[in-house]
Amino acid sequence: MADGGIGASTKRREDLRFLTGHGKYTDDLNVYGQLHMHIVRSQVAHGTIRKIDTAKAMAMPGVVAIYTGADFEPVGGLPCGWQVTGKNGAMLEPKHPVLAHGKVRHVGDPYAAIIAETLDQARDAAEALDVVIDELPAVIDMKDAVKGGTLVHDEIGTNLCYDWGFIEDNKAAVDAAFKSAPHVTTLELVNNRLIPNAMEPRVAIGDYDGSTDESVLHTTSQNPHVIRLLMGAFVLGIPEHKLRVIAADVGGGFGSKIFHYAEEALVTWVSRKLRRPVKWTSSRSEAFMSDAHGRDHVTKIELATDMQGQFLAIRTETYANMGAYLSTFAPSVPTYLHGTLMAGNYKTPLIYVNVKAVFTNTVPVDAYRGAGRPEATFQLERVIDMAARELGIDPVEIRRKNFVPNDAFPYQTPVAVAYDTGNYQATMDKLVQIADLKGFESRRAASAKKGLWRGLGINCYIEACGIAPSALVGALGARAGLYDAATVRVNATGSISVLVGAHAHGQGHETTFPQVIASMIGIDASQVDIVHGDTGRTPFGMGTYGSRSLAVCGSAMVRATEKIITKAKKIAAHMLEASEGDIELKDGKFTVKGTDKSKAWGDITLAAYVPHNYPIETVEPGLEETAFYDPSNFTYPAGAYACEVEVDPDTGKVTICSFAAADDFGNIINPMIVDGQVHGGIGQGIGQALLESAVYDADGQLLTGSYMDYAMPRAEDVPFYKVDHSCQTPCTHNPLGVKGCGEAGAIGSPPAVVNAVIDAINRAGRKVAHIDMPMSPARVWAAINA
């Protein structure tokens, strides 16, 4: 293996520019002659726009144009990329206008765009805008919303977007199992609404070139090709060859930068109209009320068991908040990314999931790190813990008892998906070891001496990653394919540029992808560079989310590299005067089998571009190959997590003492980067469990509209993690045997933390069944003193 190949903990080469201030973030870019856009946003949650008089604002210094919803009536709405079919047919899909027209539907809903020479001039003009909005009653609570009354979208006559039963044909059998079950555990819980808070707020710059009729959109996106397709085809009507989307360095996304946002369409449309570049940069305050939020489910879950803890059936009813409009992939999150994971790591034979998606006067909700899978894992692992307590069974044992056994793979779940491989006992064994569960009682005694209640939380998780098989998701309502693409461009001297459809915004692709090629060819990874984030340079790929980059785009890269190697062998065979079948590639050298005759990688690549001694009659010159890869199944990373906490009974404050994660990600390219991904994910999960929550009051005002009230996790809130990914059952259907690791930590950690807190309280003799997240000191104190 060459240095820096598969399995090496190579340090992230991209960090040099990130850490020295040389990253190329979109806000760092200023285009000559650019105008600035300020968005005027609703301050009320729901209201009728009576008047927007722009005359006075237009007369302000530097103001070039002001646009309102009326200007966008002929333009398409922001499209939704996923159609869910519910019990009563297709979901209801009200128009999501670029700028609100007629009504505003959430605090932050944009209704005017002011274009001026400077940003301050645009903001001054916003204050001169003469606007009358008659406030309407707001509908915030989902259970109120489904009763009718106040409607977010009058034209659809209901706030219920869809009512989805999964799998409807199984419902009768599930209900029957509950009727005869020896024991039923019921839990109602909230999966709290989160605000993604990427370090870099969103930015969009529209730049139209009249000489070529081409528009360039620079944007903070996780998937530039998807934005080009959605905005070009569905919103603005610009064909692909006249639209280029560039997302250079992006400072974190966590899902919130997957979606097509109004501001992207605005700057593109306005720059075409005014024939000048237009820039918009979100303030942090705007980000709180305009980036799609995450989670926000209210769920009732029931688990039927026998008295020995064997799972017999699961039944759930979930209300999923869509917010005021359907964001790009919102409908898929509570359905196909949630219902399909309700089997977890267990062989529960009967499962029925009901999801009611609801419109409310709140910011749209969409995928956020984990997207549906954290919600599934949380409810399942909480109810299992509760059942274990009710039945007096150890929480590790009840899980072991119900695991899908190793000899059952591939395992067809009762909720559509089929797990290709896994070894859940092994990850649990590893967890028991690294978390030192045997030592818990002595640690608990030590905590008790300090007056603190110590608790241990255990849980497992499984996720469906490597998103996704196109035909399967198409049948489930996706309006896009979810393959990916890579072009491997070998240069004359042997260096390689790989143009990928995936997009890196923290994942380290620029380091890990070259490691794969380095191993395949036997050259140093420094010979390989990744090009991403520019539809003008990269093949059509679907971007990065759903822990898909390596499993899907990486597989495309492998396929393209295989084509390169096949062609290079033909060239080598010609040059070495041997037959193609006798050529071996090892350590960057093509050798004739059983001889010492060889050509170096660079000799062959040079010949491809200087084809003098070359099989020109049968082999084209050049060395560049593209592959598109469509996975045949999801991948199923899985693991077991343990968290230990101390609860201060006087204040309710929870301190995380330790956190251990035993993950099975299949094969691993760069263990250090995997560690980092898991660390970050657990940190976000701890944030959800203890700190973060987007809170609206009854009028729809966002009470957590800044860091003064929205609590982000900080270094002091998280422990040093113990992570292990030595349990590896390689994915059986992609060439690298990889599963994906980006979301695992965020999916697996919230139930571990909550289980630990509930355990601590119950061990201290207080009967508390559940506390909703975030488990703030005030909530924990109230629960133990109830």
């Binding site: 204050e127 204040t651 203890l690 700190l691 957590t704 009230d709 703030s776 005030a778 104190w781 109230a782």
Partner: protein, 261 residues
């Protein structure tokens, strides 16, 4: 932010003169004012930066009194008060983060009188004297409710004088998001009695818990608080905690401050 002028006087007298202008505002460390300006929630015509006035910086001790000049940053107090008044130094060392502590000033904090700020608790519990360019104000007269003080327009805090107690401690329970005090309690024991000041908890800003002061003056131990209950009347209730929770914390933190003093 809107356009404004800024002046940087070198003396208190020049600062006072500059503040007499219509629409002038004093700028200390700026940790409240600058975010307010960025949100366009204030439109001063001129900012009078106090940071260039050498005479408004420094910590000194004499005759059982610690003097902190009004423009002294928290970080300086954390270092230079550590020997004379460790509880005050500890409080200063826990405000915000290093950047905040290097810019934010004691005068700015006391003039703003944020109901969750730390310094008001120290000043009130210490029975400090707030010295301005025109007069001396007793802490008991100075704090007049949330964001309200005895300061007249244009008046500048030039110095704060803390009588050094025999024993003292500040206990802060952080609001999870802002890390301001959800409740903060400063307990200071003097020869003539104990003073207990509470920040973060009340709709009226910092206040003294008189019942606890009486009990602790008689017996400076946590046990002395056993039969007391802090009243939830008039306390803040919000998404981070109910009034009852804050009242409970007042008692817990007072006990911890006494134990740690």
């Amino acid at each position: 932010m809107y356009d404004f002028n800024i002046v940087r006087p070198k003396t208190v007298a020049d600062a006072v003169k500059a503040l007499a202008e219509d629409g002038a505002m004093a700028l200390g460390g700026g940790h409240t004012l600058i975010p307010t300006l960025k949100q366009r929630l204030a439109q001063p015509s001129v900012l009078v930066a106090l940071s260039g006035i050498a005479d408004m910086k420094g910590v000194s001790a004499a005759g059982g009194v610690l003097s902190v000049k009004g423009g002294t940053p928290h970080g300086t107090v954390a270092k230079e008060a550590a020997k004379t008044y460790p509880a005050l130094a500890h409080l200063a060392s826990m405000i915000g983060d290093p950047a905040v502590r290097n810019r934010g000033t004691i005068g700015g904090s006391l003039a703003n009188n944020d109901p969750a700020a730390c310094y008001p608790a120290a000043a009130l519990a210490s029975g400090a004297t707030i010295v301005t360019n025109t007069r001396q104000i007793k802490a008991d007269d100075y704090f007049q409710g949330m964001f309200t003080t005895a300061l007249e327009p244009g008046e500048i805090i030039t110095e704060v004088r803390f009588p050094v107690p025999e024993k003292a401690k500040y206990q802060k329970f952080e609001q999870p998001a802002s890390r301001f005090a959800l409740v903060g309690v400063f307990v200071a024991k003097y020869a003539d009695g104990v003073r207990v000041a509470v920040t973060g908890a009340s709709e009226q800003g910092v206040f003294r818990w008189i019942e606890a002061e009486k009990a602790l003056s008689a017996n400076f131990s946590k046990a002395a608080l056993a039969n007391l209950t802090a009243s939830a009347d008039g306390l803040i209730g919000d998404i981070h905690g109910t009034a009852e929770y804050r009242a409970h914390l007042v008692k817990v933190l007072t006990g911890r401050a006494v134990e740690a003093a």
